[in-house]
């Protein structure tokens, strides 16, 4: 697990957690939390990321278990590095459930 991950310019990261009420995965973004990982804020500075993580921990009435994890800059926003995070950003591979359905809806808009 990557809870002790420290971001840098070479290895940026995002802050992710679960929504307290619903349970689904969310990412910290400008102005709050989003279920769209592509909108996540990419942290490249350790101090700024640590401060943001402290803020996230303080929002325990909104999210559960926030942590920093490595991500890379992609054409449509941050992308996962580890396959675990890739599954969290997509959903299970045995059914078309989870975040992948939101992505599908978004592309159909």
């Amino acid at each position: 697990m990557s809870k002790a991950f420290t971001p840098s310019a070479a290895k940026p990261g995002v802050i992710t957690a679960n929504d307290l009420r619903e349970g689904h995965n969310v990412w910290m973004c400008e102005g709050g939390w989003t279920p769209d990982p592509g909108r996540a804020t990419l942290f490249e500075d350790e101090a700024i990321a640590d401060l943001a993580l402290l803020k996230a921990i303080g929002q325990s009435n909104i999210v559960v278990g926030p942590y920093l994890v490595e991500a890379r800059r992609g054409p449509n926003g941050p992308e996962p590095v580890h396959f675990r995070e890739a599954f969290r950003q997509t959903g299970p591979s045995n059914y078309f459930h989870g975040i992948q359905t939101q992505k599908s809806e978004a592309t159909h808009v």
Binding site: N18, L20, R21, E22, G23, H24, N25, S60, N61, V64, G65, V81, H82, F83, R84, F87, R88, G91, P92, S93, N94, Y95, H97, G98, I99
Partner: protein, 552 residues
Amino acid sequence: MFDVRPVDTDYVRHRAAQFRAQVARRLDGSLTEDEFRPLRLMNGVYLQLHAYMLRVAIPYGTISPDQMRMLAHLAQHYDKGYGHWTTRQNIQFNWPRLVDIPDMLDLLASVGMHAIQTSGNTIRNVTTDAFAGAAADEFADPRPYAELLRSWSTDHAEFQFLPRKFKIAITGAARDRALVAAHDIGLRLIRHEGRTGFEVWVGGGLGRTPMLGQVIRDFLPEEDLLPYIEAIIETYNLSGRRDNKYKARIKITVSERGLDAFRADTEEEFLRRRGHFHGADRDALAQFRDRFAAPEFRKAPVAGYEAERQANPAFRSWTDTNLHPHRVDGYASVIVTFKAPGATPGDASADQMRLLADLAEKYGHSDLRIIHDQNVALPHVHKSDLPALYLALRGAGLATANAGLTSDIIACPGMDYCTLATARSIPIAQEIAEHFRAQGLEEEIGKLNIRISGCINACGHHHLGHIGILGLDRAGVENYQITLGGDGYDIPAIGQRAGAGFPAEDVVPAIDRLLRAYLDLREDASERFIDAYRRLGPAPFKAALYPEVVNA
């Protein structure tokens, strides 16, 4: 008549109301997550990879049609239309919202069900033979004892904060289908000098340190069951390690202290405890025996069943694989596998659950069992009803003739759902099942237990698979270790690692090489994979898995 009586309804409703208030306090900020987590875990609520997960207890896998319909209702209205049978004979819902779980628990309470002690360091669901009360090789029905253990252990104040979780299994048959040797406590019903009692096993378990249990008591008279079990757990509660989560299970306690020292403490404590039991447990057991009285079996000709077997090869194939011998002439136990090609092992849709409830009422004396291998049994079906039952199951995709075969794979949810997982299990199971179906080899290979776990916690019982597959994270890539020679049933054994792991795309070709080698090596079709492995040892099978090493 079989009677699944709603259990302790007032208590279950009380606990559901308590949890509703706890959720409310969590949502309004009165409870932190650190304070709330143990409370939700005591009610079977986990936070998984994509969502919350609710694990509902199905005591010793026994469930009534009405209870099954309630599970279907929850699957349809609070989940995504399905539930997942677990290897502790329970069910898990993968997508509930926290805000809905209090309503789900209320609905469960209305049919005497709950999620209490499906998590946490307590005594978990007591498991047993899914064919209890039905099997031809059964010596004594284990369910009354399982119910005694369930009612005794539920909310047992002394055992709510054990060093680690605690699992008990009980069997009353010649063949151990309850995996007694792989449990913290395993109980085998036996007779000794005219008396009924138990051979008591202790210290078995899988996980990161797999061990088979040892016999701590050759014969325990049945009336001493609860005081002796209390003595074992009390000894563990006091001497089990709390300094290291990975060394906290009783198997480590017994292993580190030695069986003799552990037994001495247990026996001493047993003498002390036995005096506190004044017969209420034996009275309860007598009541439970009445509740598990056999249904009124009927006598009817089975000529129609035999004729259908001759006329319909698909039906014959299904009856060859998916029936278990019943103790009453004219009856069979039916195994409904949830392992159709391409299906997720153990997933049941709401419609399938409702159908099973209807079929159990129509053909199965209203009795349903969840099997630890993630299938469902109708334990009592008259053979004359099998053609109609088969047709009904086939219409719902539930008549796959594969019980005990290659595609009847146990697989944990793996990294598709589980936050502890290090790799996926489900796609590997699906690929293996589809491959051997497509190759037409499944029938030729015959009986084979493949077990897949997505991490070393071993929820998929990979150590007990004739072929075990363990998914790991190797430098950020899914990688699968193969173990050989495990067995949970006939000659309990922990599978041994065959060698280096395989990338995901190489697992099916490796298993293909392994099983084709087995087909070449076996003496005849009656020699199962595990028998050939025991006869020949691992070398020829390793050679098939790693041909490049041999050819190098």
